[in-house]
Amino acid sequence: CKESFLEEPPRGTFSESVLKNRAGIDGLLIGSYSLLDGVGGPSGNWEAAGSNWVFGNVTSDDAYKGTDAGDQIEINPIERYEALPTNGYFNFKWRHQYDGVSRANDVLRLLPEAKDIPEAEQLQITAEARFLRGYYHFDAKRMWNKVPYIDENTVKFTDFTTANVPNNTDIWPQIEEDIKFAYDNLPETQLQVGRVNKWAAGAYLGKVYMYQRKFAEAKQIFDNVIANGKTSGGKKYALNPQYHDNFRVTGNNSAESVFAAQTSVNDGSNGTNANWGDILNFTYGGGPGGCCGFHQPSQNLVNAHKTDATGLPMLDTFNQADVKSDQGVLATQTFEPYQGSLDPRLDWSVGRRGIPHLDWGNHPGASWIRDQVYAGPYSPKKNHYYQSDLGKNTDGSSWTSGLTNININLMRFADVLLMAAEAEVEAGSLEQARAYVNLIRERAKNPEGFVKKADGTPAANYVINTYTAPWADQETARKAVRFERRLELAMEGHRFFDLVRWGIAAETINAYLAKEKTLRQYLIGATFTAGVDEYFPIPEQQIVLSTVNGQPTLQQNPGY
């Protein structure tokens, strides 16, 4: 028998050498972008969702796990701050982030070997790949704090132990360096709107500064982004006229979209390029998606939308009385929604009974809720699509109807403005901060953008106004800016990370739990432990896998 008889290479695959050219490198770069939505890497479904709904919202005072007690039971201990390092959600998220890093590194590793790419283009590819590498590291950093940094020279595929990098040094400098490189070298506009540009990199550089409390550096870069920034498609950064424009297909890649995970439907991927990470977060038993009732807003978040007679939020007293809900009211019984004054953004962030749910008719209450006794009466709304989009902007090729091409907002211009406001507060320029906040509130108060009944009248008693008087002091300003950030970015995956960043996670969350457990009995006994629960446990499996010569390379976070 000839030796060649025993050579049977795999069919339908590419060897590395085939990719060392312009098209191959760009393909690898596309592969790195494709993990921004949190799906398509290490075989998870929603654990690493680009929207961060579990780690950013369920862990905060904004949302519950939702649905019923038995579904996705691994989220239960996460919501109760009892999660163990063995919890699979953390492992999926970890692997996903580092798969993103690894894909960006593949680009950077093979790029020098591709000989047909002009130098300018090489620089741009490098900048995009480094931005992505920085982005994936950034998301890991704020999850776990103690995380390793991996660059294109770290891993040798002939020796897997090269991937065991300690997590005992702070990687903010490397993240900063990657994103700054992108900011310095990327063009202002791009051929494809999904590519990161100079301004998106700049906004992220500012965000990275904010996480490090480098407010002066942050302010400087936000000033530039706000003054000169434009989208990759060339639109000058601006707030969309109506708040809800950001959460519908027609708002994809709008002037407010600084950076987004692009989603697509009916593209041959069986829906996995749609917003797969949020497929559980639709109404149950009817309405958009029809499954599975997760990510239900908290009563606390709803209460936060109460406004006083002047149309301002009730910063200190909002949670003293509840916005009336249909909790305990059967769908066959009648219900009149709350008549008090409310911020209009509530009804774009939260689905509640008696309020028009996009074009699906009024939210019918319990009929759309999987287990109201367990998880309350509210539905999420920002990821929901219009009935008129069904088929065109949804994908029917998988088990759920909740597959949409509403982009996942990773950074909105509103986010930039509110971070800039924070930086101004810290710099003592309270009036500039108020101006930024009022830009946000001006847009929110546009009556064109209110949820309306069929007869064209507002669906609830919306009362909202700008801050007309200067803030008394820095503390008041700080509270107002932070509160505005909660309202504006509600249910968008930021809240928990913001609370930790501000250093007020323990007090805020424990106060939340104290009241919320009277409504959600499953929260009885849950406590947020300061100094521990700000960061999630390093996945046990990763610690085990980091073993070299009998010793783990990765260290666990304190308290786990």
Binding site: C1, A69, Q262, S397, S546
Partner: protein, 1044 residues
Amino acid sequence: QSRVISGKVTAQEDNTPLPGVNVIVKGTTTGAVTDSNGSYSVTIPGNDVFLVFTFIGYTAQEVAAGNRSSIDIQMASDVKALQEVVVTGYTTQNRRDITGAVSVVKPQELLATPAGNVQQQLQGRVAGVVTSGTGVPGAGAKVRVRGFGSFGNNDPLYIVDGVPTYNVNNINPQDIESMQVLKDASAASIYGARAANGVVIMTTKKGKTGAPTVSIDSYYGFQKAPKGPNMLNPTQLGQLFWESQLNAGQTPSHAQYGSGAEPRFPDYVIAGSLAGVMEGHPDTDPALYNIDYARPIHRIVRFNKEGTDQWNELFRTAPIQSHQVTANGGTEFSNYSVGLNFFDQQGLMHYTGYKRYSLRANTQFKVKNRIRLGENVQVSYNEAKGSRSGEEGGESLLLNAIRIYPFIPRNDVMGNWAGTAGAGAGTGANSYADLYRSKDDINSAMRLFGNVYAEVDIINGLTARTSFGVDYETRYGQDYEFRTYERAENIGANAYTEQNDWTRNWTWTNTLTYKKVFAEKHDITLLAGTEAVKETGRGVSGRRINFFSDDPYFRVLTRGAPVGQNNDSYGFASTLSSVFGRVDYTFNDRYIVNATLRRDGSSRFGSENRYGVFPAASVGWRISSENFMKGVPFVNDLKLRVGWGQMGNQLNVDRENAYSFYRSTPGNSSYDLGGTGNSVMMGFDMDRIGFSRTKWEAATTTNLGIDAVLFDSRLDVALDVYNRTTEGLLVRAQAAGTLGDATLPFVNLGDIRNRGIDLTLGTRGDIGGSGLKYDVVLTLAHYKNEALRVGANAKDFIQGSVLRNVEITRSEAGQPISSFRGYTIDGFYNTQEEVDAGPDQPQKGIGSWRIRDRNNDGVINADDQSYIGSPHPDLTTGLNFTLAYKGFDLSIFLYSVLGNEIYNNTKWWTDFNSFQGNRSVRMLEQSWRAGADNSKAVLPILNATDTYSNSIANTYMVESGSYLRARTMQLGYNFPKTLISRLGMSNLRLYVQGQNIFTITNYTGVDPDVSSQSQITGQETGMGIDMGWYPNPKQFLLGLNLSF
């Protein structure tokens, strides 16, 4: 000078003529064979010669010719001989000379268990072979020889007429003439890289010299499902809801049961979109009813207050039948065996079933005495109806039927499907509806399996053989999914998937065999051979959605919407190239030596470890032939065997293991960079990292065996003790997540050991000469499995089954593979004092489980887990008992498994606040209750917010899996020959049979025969979990054997 001598050979016991006896002039090649009358004639060179008469199963005789012209001989049957010739590795051996661990299975034993395939029939028949199966029509069973020597696939290799395969599902069991199971290396090692899991050798029926005979074997019968779990009725369910919510401090309320002090029944589960509706509500008006998707759906489903027996909705009494016609005959120069079979097993679940048509044609030709040509071929076509009956787990038909609420009827008010739509109506699907909808899903396969061969006797004793085997199978599958309106989680678009694939394997084997007896005492067989195997396959599938009509005749892909279409294809190939040799030597019928050596090259391995060498040797000592044993009259035959050898396993290494490559897939690596919303730019990501030094899993076995025939051949004993250590187990390499997500190669990182005992006892006789004959065979097998190493680090483990985020099984050094791991429950916290004094345990309260704080650190956490059970039995036993009296025969076959545990994960669905769904009576009656007698309590206090109890693997879920099952019971009657010969028949037998008539077990699940089923097919590290399998049916059959 030469002359002719003739005569007749008869059997001593009954004087009947013996055809086929070899008559040889001693020391020459001259000879003859007796004809059908037992007559022979042979030319002898002179008077001073001996004639040697030999015939299998009879004692050879030597007779001096002298001047006689006629010699009649009576031959005595060789009582001590198990003179059967059996087919083993590439050759045949006298059964009595076998020195390895080889079990011979009689085809009639297999056929005593009517089933669609051989694997199911093997259960309990061979000591050391553990088989478990399900009731899925036509499905194979899991067969494991002597424990588990790999973390991956442990399927044995089947050799059918010399052609290797791992799939004997559609080989017709009625065609099998002989079966041998090669259990240790000295027997199996000649199959080298594929032998480590044991080798099952089968030959199919060959033609026999003589007038054509035609036989018909038929049976027809019914199958019934076992009893289902004891679930709550609608009234009990309401009690459970109220108690659970009150205990949680909630105000009881339920979308169906209302919000009063006591639960109440509504009249409708759903009307329009409203749940729990009372009679008289406007939405219950049938005029509003609509399930046409073009308009808003308006369902109207009544609340079944009496309760629907959901288990009985799923199952039916289903027929099973098999009809076989075999024609057999031949002359001195050619013979044939042709068999035609129709097998039809309807499913226990409605609208499911399996049918197979198979045709076998085996022929053999002799050309010029020295050359033999032949072929064995089976063509089969089978189809399975209903695409989903084999599912397991939470969304399976079986578990959906268990957990759907009892108040949901099968149909709505208009006779269409009812389901879980409506708040408080649970999740999951109406299984009967799903079955009905998949009734036109046909999965079919067409298979051509067989070989052609030629044998040439080059010189006396030296035979060259070449065989070319082909296994070609093509499969076709259809799966239509309906859009649904009746479920809580509806499917929004109909979809149709159609797929086709083929595999084409060929095996070309060439051997040279030399058999010779020197100086009467030295019996030598030498074998040398080469073999080349190539397997190739390709598959293609397509899927479209949004079909305009659900009509079955409309189902072609082109009728679906062009948007969202999906297609896929794949291909693979692998090769194996081998040389092998074998020596068998027997000295004076006393000392037996056997040695084999094989070298395999495989395309699955990288260039650095592409070849493996597998040696084996064994010796046997026939003690009973020694002179000192002549005085021990009760010993008819006694043989001691010792064998050692090495075998390989390459099943668990992917074909692409040695290669690194990238992929381009829409889902994993593509992205809508352009922001179009409906298209992607193709990208790449790393798919696999290859490793060129991976090599075979190498199993080394030592086997010590004794074969004895005692007490006038009334007792047969075969005892084997073995140690099988597999080194370099293929384990998927692990790397930190920081490496990326490319699939890592298999590397040789584990060791595992199986030690065990196989014992077979057989006795037969005639009770007091009364004509009442009995035959009893008992097989006993024990093995102990232990993982010795599972990775580069001592503490490494392989995570097996993780179900709904609960890790259940682990494989770790020092434990058997797939051991259950979890928390130990030590009763309950009965008082607040106990609660306060106990360790910190999540959601702890009065009535909670008391979880053992194993490390006494005052906190219940992952460190308090331990191994809480093993799926490996201590003993498996088969007892076959046959009685015959005159024309009647009765056989009873009992099978038992002792000492294993089952992780009954169906309880996760029925005994806790898992997904909304019906609960067991056990949960209502045996949960801890304040102020009650809790001595029978097994579950924590009912509490609607308890999300902890079902989030941990624990001892409550582990149950004894021991059982004893009456596998088959058969009563037959043979009609007297005198009667039937007038009708031209030579044999007529009728029988009635019951299968799985009773099972004695403490297991609370539906069927304990799940113990070695695996969660993931072929992955042993997750086995032993009951996820709601399709249970084995009880069968009642009427059968007929008839021949002309």
